[in-house]
C-alpha cells in the first residue's frame, strides 16, 4: 500500500490554494476554447448546411464545394487539423495568439460536424413542404426560417450537445501547441515535482465533472424539448 501512503503524504502539498487556482484557470481556458470555438463552428456549420440546400443554392458547383469541405474536414484528425491551422497562421504572417489558433481549429472541426448535423435536421422535414412553400411564392429563406427550421430543431439539438461535450474532451490535444488548458496544466504540475498519478488523476476527475455535467444538462434539455413539442402538438390531434 505504498501508493496510498504516498498519495496521502503528497495530497496536502498538492491541494494548496495556489495550485487549485492554477487548475481552475486552466479549466476555464478549456471551457473558453471549447465554447467560443463551438459557437463559431455552429454558426459556420449552420451557414454551410443552409447553402447546401438546393432550394437555397441552385448552383450545383457551390453545393459540391461545400460537400467537399465538410467531408474533408471531418476526415482529418483534430491534431493534424490543429497543426494545419498553427502553420497556416505562420504562413499567412498573421501574429495569432495560441488561444486564437486553438479556437480556429475547434471552430473548423465543429463547422464540419454541425453542418452534417444540421443537414440531418433539414432532411427530417419532408421535401413536399419545401415544394408547397415555394409554390406559394414564399421566399426560400423565409420558408427555411418559418417552416423548416421550427421542425428541425428537435433533430438538430440532441447531437449538438453530444458534439460539444466531445469537443471539450478533444481540446485536450490543444496542449500540444502549448496552450495552457487542463491537460497542459497537468504536465506543468508534474514538472514542478508532483507525481503523475496525482496530477493526471486530478485532471481526469475535473474533465469528468465538466463532461458529465454538460451531458446531464443536454439530456435534460432534450427531454424538455421533446416534452414541449408533444405538448404543442396534442391539441391538434383529433380526439
Amino acid at each position: 500500500m505504498g501508493i496510498i501512503a504516498g498519495l496521502m503524504e503528497e495530497a496536502p502539498r498538492f491541494f494548496t490554494y495556489w495550485n487549485m487556482l492554477f487548475l481552475a484557470n486552466a479549466a476555464l481556458n478549456t471551457l473558453l476554447v471549447s465554447f467560443i470555438g463551438c459557437l463559431a463552428g455552429y454558426a459556420l456549420g449552420f451557414t454551410i448546411a443552409t447553402f447546401r440546400l438546393p432550394q437555397i443554392t441552385p448552383v450545383a458547383p457551390v453545393r459540391g464545394a461545400l460537400i467537399l469541405y465538410v467531408e474533408a474536414i471531418r476526415r482529418i484528425p483534430f491534431l493534424v487539423l490543429l497543426m494545419c491551422v498553427f502553420f497556416g497562421f505562420q504562413l499567412s504572417g498573421v501574429q495569432a495568439s495560441l488561444f486564437l489558433i486553438a479556437v480556429t481549429a475547434v471552430a473548423l472541426r465543429m463547422s464540419a460536424l454541425s453542418a452534417e448535423n444540421v443537414r440531418a435536421g433539414y432532411e427530417a422535414v419532408h421535401e413536399r413542404q419545401w415544394d408547397a412553400a415555394l409554390t406559394m411564392n414564399i421566399p426560400p429563406l423565409t420558408a427555411l426560417f418559418r417552416i423548416v427550421l421550427p421542425q428541425s430543431w428537435r433533430v438538430i439539438l440532441p447531437p449538438s450537445t453530444i458534439h460539444t461535450v466531445s469537443m471539450i474532451k478533444e481540446t485536450s490535444l490543444v496542449s500540444q501547441i502549448g496552450f495552457l488548458e487542463l491537460t497542459f496544466s497537468a504536465r506543468m504540475l508534474t514538472q514542478r515535482g508532483f507525481s503523475a498519478l496525482i496530477c493526471y488523476g486530478t485532471v481526469l476527475v475535473l474533465y469528468f465533472v465538466i463532461s458529465y455535467a454538460f451531458s446531464a444538462a443536454g439530456r435534460y434539455a432534450e427531454r424538455k424539448l421533446v416534452h414541449q413539442a408533444r405538448a404543442v402538438r396534442t391539441p391538434v390531434l383529433p380526439a
Binding site: I3, E71, A72, F78, L79, V80, S172, T183, C199, F208
Partner: protein
C-alpha cells in the same frame, strides 16, 4: 510565401508506412474493444444490479474523460505503481479501453433491439439455440449495429493520431519528424491531412461494401 512540395513528396513512402501502422493500431484496438464491448453490453442487458454497477462506472468514466489524458495517465502515472508500459502498448491499451466503453454503449443498443416475440417465433418453429443465434439474433443485431460500428472505426482511425504524442511512429508522428527536418510545415501537414482523408474514405467505402455483401445492411456509406 510559397508552397514547395518537392522535398515533401520524397517522404510519401515513409508517411504511407506510418499510415499502415495507424491502420494496425486502429484495427487492433477496435477488435479488442469490440470484445470488451460485447461483454459489457451483455452484462448491462442481462446482468444483475451488482454486476452492472462496475460496467456502468467504467463506461461513464471512459466516455467522459479525454482519451489523450487517459493515455497520459497510463503512460506516466502507472510507473508510479511499478507498471511500465512501452509507448505502443500504452496507446494500444488506452485506445482499447476507451473504445471498449463506446462499443459497450453501441452494442447495448443492439441487444435491446431484439424483440421477445422474434425469439418466441423462432422457438415455436423448432430452432435450436445455436440456430436461433445464427439465423435470428445475430443478423438482426449486426444490421442494427453496423452503421454505429463502422462510424466508431473511422473515429478510431482518426484517434490514432494522438499516438504521435507518445512517440509511436505512426502517420502523424512521421509528419512531425519530417517537419522537424525540413520545416516545410504546411506542405507536410496538408499532405498528412490528405492521406488521412484518403484512408478514411477507402475504409468507409470498404466497410459499406462489406456490410452490403455480408450482412445486407442498407445504410448510407458516408
Amino acid at each position: 510565401m510559397s508552397l514547395q512540395y518537392g522535398q515533401v513528396i520524397a517522404y510519401l513512402p515513409d508517411f504511407l508506412a506510418g499510415a499502415w501502422l495507424s491502420l494496425q493500431i486502429a484495427s487492433l484496438a477496435f477488435v479488442m474493444g469490440l470484445v470488451i464491448g460485447l461483454f459489457g453490453a451483455a452484462v448491462l442487458t442481462y446482468g444483475g444490479p451488482l454486476a452492472r454497477a462496475p460496467i456502468r462506472a467504467y463506461v461513464s468514466f471512459c466516455t467522459n474523460t479525454p482519451q489523450l489524458v487517459q493515455i497520459f495517465f497510463l503512460f506516466f502515472a502507472l510507473p508510479d505503481m511499478g507498471i511500465i508500459l512501452s509507448p505502443y502498448v500504452a496507446v494500444l491499451i488506452g485506445m482499447t479501453l476507451n473504445a471498449g466503453a463506446y462499443l459497450t454503449e453501441i452494442q447495448r443498443a443492439g441487444f435491446q433491439s431484439i424483440q421477445r416475440a422474434e425469439i418466441d417465433a423462432a422457438e415455436t418453429l423448432g430452432f435450436s439455440r445455436l440456430q436461433l443465434v445464427r439465423y435470428v439474433v445475430a443478423p438482426h443485431i449486426i444490421r442494427t449495429l453496423y452503421p454505429g460500428l463502422s462510424n466508431q472505426y473511422i473515429i478510431m482511425m482518426l484517434g490514432t493520431s494522438m499516438a504521435a504524442i507518445f512517440g509511436v511512429e505512426e502517420l502523424t508522428a512521421r509528419a512531425l519528424n519530417a517537419n522537424a527536418v525540413t520545416f516545410r510545415s504546411i506542405e507536410i501537414f496538408s499532405l498528412t491531412a490528405l492521406i488521412y482523408i484518403g484512408l478514411t474514405i477507402i475504409a468507409s467505402a470498404l466497410l459499406y461494401a462489406l456490410g452490403r455483401v455480408l450482412f445486407r445492411v442498407k445504410a448510407r456509406a458516408f
